[in-house]
C-alpha cells in the first residue's frame, strides 16, 4: 500500500487543533498559527527521549524487584516482601490464580514492556522494514497495557493507608515500591515519547 505522507507533502498538522500548516520558511521550530501548540513533523527527539526514559526504567527495575515493596509488622514479628516473594508466597499458599495475576501485572508486563520498547527503538534505529504492521500493533498494546502495572502500587498504597493498627499489625511501603512506581511511570512516558510513525518512515525514504 502506497500513500503520501504529510512529511512527503511537506505539511505539518497541529496535534491539538488539527490545523494543517506549511512549514515555516526559515526557522526550525514552529507553532500552530491557530492555537499556538508547537508543531513538528515527527515528535522531536523521539528516539533519544525514549532511550533516556527507557534506560532510567531499566536501571530502576532492578531495585524495584530486589528491594521490599511492603513491610508487614505484626505482633509476632515483621516481614519484608519483595514482589517476587509475594508471588512465591501466593503460589505456595495455594492461591495460584492470584499469583498469576500478580506475576503478570508486576513482573511480566513491566519487563515485557521494557523489552518491547527496546526492541522497537533498536529496530527503528536500524531502519528495519520487517513486520512494520505487527510492530505498530505491539506499540499500541504497550501503550494500553502499561498503566495496569500500577495495580501493585495501588495495592501497596491502599494497604499502607488502611492497615495501621499500631503494634497489632501495620503495613508500610518499602523503597522497592517507589522504584517500581517510578519504573511504571517512566515506561509510560517512554511509550508516550516514542513516535510510531518512525516505524514507517524507512518505507517512504526507500521509495523517495
Amino acid at each position: 500500500m502506497t500513500a503520501t505522507t504529510a512529511v512527503e507533502a511537506g505539511l505539518l498538522a497541529c496535534h491539538a487543533c488539527g490545523l494543517i500548516h506549511r512549514p515555516p520558511a526559515a526557522a526550525h521550530g514552529a507553532v500552530c498559527a491557530r492555537c499556538g501548540s508547537s508543531l513538528h513533523f515527527r515528535k522531536p527527539d523521539s528516539l533519544s527521549r525514549t532511550w533516556a526514559l527507557l534506560i532510567a526504567s531499566w536501571v530502576l527495575i532492578v531495585p524495584a524487584n530486589v528491594l521490599p515493596v511492603m513491610k508487614t509488622g505484626s505482633l509476632f514479628g515483621s516481614e519484608k516482601d519483595t514482589i517476587f516473594s509475594g508471588v512465591v508466597y501466593l503460589w505456595t499458599s495455594g492461591s495460584w490464580p492470584l499469583a498469576l495475576i500478580l506475576f503478570t501485572a508486576s513482573i511480566a508486563v513491566p519487563f515485557g514492556k521494557l523489552a518491547a520498547l527496546t526492541f522497537l527503538l533498536v529496530s527503528v534505529q536500524q531502519g528495519s522494514a520487517w513486520a512494520r504492521r505487527e510492530r505498530t500493533r505491539l506499540y499500541r498494546v504497550l501503550e494500553f497495557v502499561g498503566r495496569w502495572s500500577m495495580i501493585d502500587i495501588y495495592v501497596a498504597a491502599m494497604l499502607t493507608a488502611l492497615v495501621q493498627f499500631g503494634s497489632l499489625m501495620n503495613i508500610q511501603a518499602g523503597s522497592g515500591a517507589i522504584a517500581f512506581g517510578t519504573v511504571v511511570v517512566l515506561t509510560m512516558f517512554a511509550a508516550e515519547s516514542f513516535d510510531p510513525r518512525l516505524i514507517w518512515d524507512p518505507v517512504e525514504k526507500k521509495r523517495g
Binding site: 534506560i55 536501571v59 531495585p63 530486589v66
Partner: protein, 548 residues
C-alpha cells in the same frame, strides 16, 4: 476518517509561525536516566553497605526454623534472618545460613554463642512464651574474643547466664551431681544470687564438675576460703532445744540448690578469681568443719563385735571429736584362730593441739612422720587406750572413745609406721561381763564335796568318841564289882552321879553333846542348800537370793 476525503487545497494552507528552538530541551530528558542511575547506584551501594555478613549456624534440630522467616535477634531486636536451611551431609545436624545486618559484624567472634529460643517451662520459671505463636527465633550471646568466625554451632539449650550479665563463674568439684541440674539456684545467706550454668562428668568418671555463675555484686562474697555445700532438701535435726527443721527455700526442696558462705572463724580473704575451683561439701555441717591439715592414720584392734560402728563414726576424746573412722574390717589369725576387728581411723592432732594451746602450755604438733610416731607412742605409754562405746541407745550406733587409762596394763607400743596401732580396752559393758565371769569361775573352784566329806568325818569322830566313852563307862562298871561296897557304893554313887550327869536324858553333858551334833547337822544342811542355790542361781552371790 469518517469524513469524506476532500481535495486538498494546498495553496490556502496557513504557514506555521516560526518559533525559536529551545536548544537545551533535548538534553534535558537525559537528566532522568542520570538521576535513575544515580538513585540506583545509591540504592545498590546502600544495600551492599547495609548487607552484613552471612554466617552458618549448625543446630541440633530444625524444629520450627523456617528459611526466610526465622529471625536472629539480639535483645529482642532483629539483627538477621535465616535464608536457607539444609541438612549436613552426614544428616546429623541442621545447618542454617543466615544473613546478618551490617551492625551485627562485631558479634561474629570466636566465643559468640547462638541458640534457638523456644518456649521453656522449668521449676525456675517460664521463658520464651512469645515464641509459642511466632515460632522460634535464634538469639545470640556476643563474645569478647578477637578472632573472627563465620561458622557457628548453636547451643542445644539456652544458656542460663549470658555474658553481658555482670558476675563471675566458679567451678565446683563434687563426688556426684546430687539433685543439681542446670539452672538450679545458688544461695548466699538464703538469697538467690546465682545459678548452675553447666555440669559435666570428669574425664574418667571419678567426679562431677559443676560450673556456677554468681551475679554481681554478690560475687565479691565468694572468697578463697568460701565453702560450698548442698542446700537441697530438708535438714531435720533433733537437739537439746527440740526439733529443728531447716531448708534454704521451698524451691530448693523441689529442684535442689547450692549455698555458699565462708566459715565463721575464717579470716577475711580477697574475692576469689574467676573460675576458682572449690570443693562441694555434702552438708552445711561438713562444709563448716575446721579444715584438718594434719592427719594421723591409726588402727584400733577390737576383739569384740563392732556392730553399730560405721565408717565416718567419730573418734572422741572425752566428748570432743578428734577423728573419724574410715574403715571397719575383720581379720583372723590362722595360727591361733583368733579374730580381731581392726578399725582404721584418721585422727586430727591439730584439734588436740588447739586445746593444749588454749591452756597456755602447748606442744607444737610434730611435723615429721617420726615426730608423729613418737608423739603417739608417748600417748600410748601414758595409757592412751581406745574403747568401743554406744553413742545412741536407740539405734545402737557406736563410736570409738579414746581416753587415758593410767591403770591400764602396760603395752609396748612397738610400731614403726602408720597406721599406728592404738591398744584397745574392752568396752564398759564388756568389763562388767568379764568381772561376773571371773567371780563365777572362782565359785566354781570351791570344793563343796570336800567340805561335805570333812563334815561327815567330824560327825563320825564324834560318834566314836561317844562310843568309847560308853565303853569306858561299861568297863569301869565291870572292873569295879570286886572293890569294896563302899568303894562300890561310893563308886556306884559316883557312877550313878556320873550316870545322872552323863547318861541321863537330861544330863547336861549329853544335852550339850546333842546340841552340838544338832548344830553340826544344821550347818551341813545349810551348806548343802547354799551349794544347791549356787548351782541354780550363781548370780545370787552378787544380787542376793531371789524369791522362789
Amino acid at each position: 476518517m469518517a469524513d469524506a476525503p476532500r481535495e486538498p487545497r494546498l495553496p490556502e494552507l496557513p504557514e506555521a509561525v516560526a518559533a525559536p528552538q529551545r536548544r537545551w530541551a533535548p538534553q534535558l530528558i537525559w537528566i532522568i536516566p542520570i538521576v535513575a542511575v544515580l538513585a540506583g547506584a545509591w540504592l545498590a551501594v546502600k544495600t551492599i553497605l547495609e548487607s552484613g555478613p552471612t554466617i552458618t549456624i549448625s543446630v541440633k534440630t530444625g524444629e520450627g526454623l523456617e528459611a526466610g522467616k526465622t529471625k536472629i535477634k539480639y535483645k529482642d531486636i532483629e539483627i538477621g534472618l535465616i535464608n536457607d536451611i539444609h541438612l549436613t551431609s552426614d544428616r546429623k545436624r541442621v545447618v542454617a545460613t543466615a544473613q546478618l545486618d551490617k551492625d551485627a559484624e562485631p558479634f561474629l567472634v570466636e566465643d559468640t554463642r547462638f541458640w534457638a529460643v523456644r518456649p521453656q517451662v522449668t521449676a525456675a520459671g517460664v521463658s520464651g512464651l512469645g515464641t509459642l505463636l511466632s515460632g522460634p527465633y535464634i538469639t545470640v550471646d556476643p563474645g569478647h574474643a578477637k578472632q573472627k568466625r563465620r561458622e557457628f554451632v548453636a547451643l542445644d539449650v539456652a544458656p542460663i547466664v549470658t555474658r553481658e550479665e555482670p558476675g563471675r563463674t566458679f567451678v565446683l568439684r563434687a563426688g556426684d551431681l546430687g539433685s543439681h541440674d542446670v539452672g538450679v539456684p545458688v544461695y548466699f545467706r538464703r538469697l538467690p544470687v546465682g545459678e548452675i550454668v553447666s555440669r559435666e562428668l570428669d574425664k574418667g568418671g571419678t567426679g562431677v564438675t559443676i560450673k556456677i555463675f554468681v551475679r554481681a555484686p554478690y560475687d565479691q562474697y565468694v572468697t578463697a576460703n568460701t565453702r560450698f555445700w548442698n542446700a537441697s532438701g530438708i535438714d531435720v535435726s533433733l537437739g537439746a532445744t527440740g526439733v529443728r527443721l531447716e531448708t534454704e527455700s521451698i524451691v530448693s526442696i523441689l529442684i535442689g540448690g547450692l549455698a555458699f558462705q565462708a566459715r565463721p572463724d575464717a579470716e577475711v580473704a580477697p574475692p576469689a578469681e574467676e573460675n576458682h575451683v572449690f570443693h562441694l561439701f555434702r552438708t552445711r555441717e561438713e562444709a563448716m568443719k575446721r579444715p584438718d591439715v594434719a592427719v594421723v592414720h591409726v588402727v584400733f584392734e577390737f576383739k569384740e563385735s563392732v556392730r553399730g560402728l560405721s565408717e565416718g563414726a567419730p573418734v572422741e576424746f572425752r566428748g570432743v571429736t578428734i577423728g573419724e573412722v574410715i574403715r571397719v574390717r575383720t581379720e583372723f589369725d590362722p595360727r591361733t584362730f583368733t579374730f580381731a576387728q581392726p578399725v582404721e581411723a584418721y585422727l586430727y592432732p591439730e584439734r588436740l593441739r588447739a586445746r593444749s594451746r588454749d591452756a597456755g602450755a602447748g606442744l607444737p604438733t610434730p611435723e615429721t612422720p617420726e615426730g608423729i610416731r613418737k608423739r603417739v607412742q608417748i600417748f600410748v605409754e601414758h595409757g592412751m587406750r581406745a574403747q568401743l562405746r554406744t553413742g545412741n541407745l536407740l539405734t545402737g550406733q557406736k563410736f570409738v572413745a579414746v581416753d587415758l587409762f593410767p591403770r591400764a596394763p602396760k603395752v609396748k607400743a612397738g610400731f614403726s609406721k602408720p597406721p599406728f596401732e592404738i591398744p584397745t580396752l574392752p568396752g564398759a559393758l564388756e568389763d562388767i561381763e568379764e568381772t561376773v565371769a571371773g567371780i563365777l569361775k572362782k565359785l566354781e573352784k570351791v570344793q563343796y564335796e570336800q567340805i561335805g566329806a570333812d563334815l561327815r568325818k567330824v560327825t563320825v569322830t564324834l560318834d566314836e568318841v561317844l562310843k568309847s566313852v560308853d565303853r569306858l563307862v561299861q568297863r569301869i562298871d565291870a572292873e569295879l564289882v570286886g572293890e569294896t561296897r563302899s568303894t562300890l557304893q561310893a563308886a556306884r554313887a559316883a557312877i550313878e552321879r556320873a550316870d545322872r550327869g552323863l547318861l541321863a536324858p537330861d544330863a547336861s553333858l549329853q544335852e550339850d553333846v546333842r546340841e552340838t551334833l544338832r548344830e553340826i547337822a544344821r550347818a551341813a544342811d545349810a551348806l548343802r542348800s547354799l551349794a544347791d542355790l549356787l548351782e541354780r542361781q550363781p548370780e545370787s552371790l552378787i544380787r542376793g537370793k531371789q524369791a522362789e
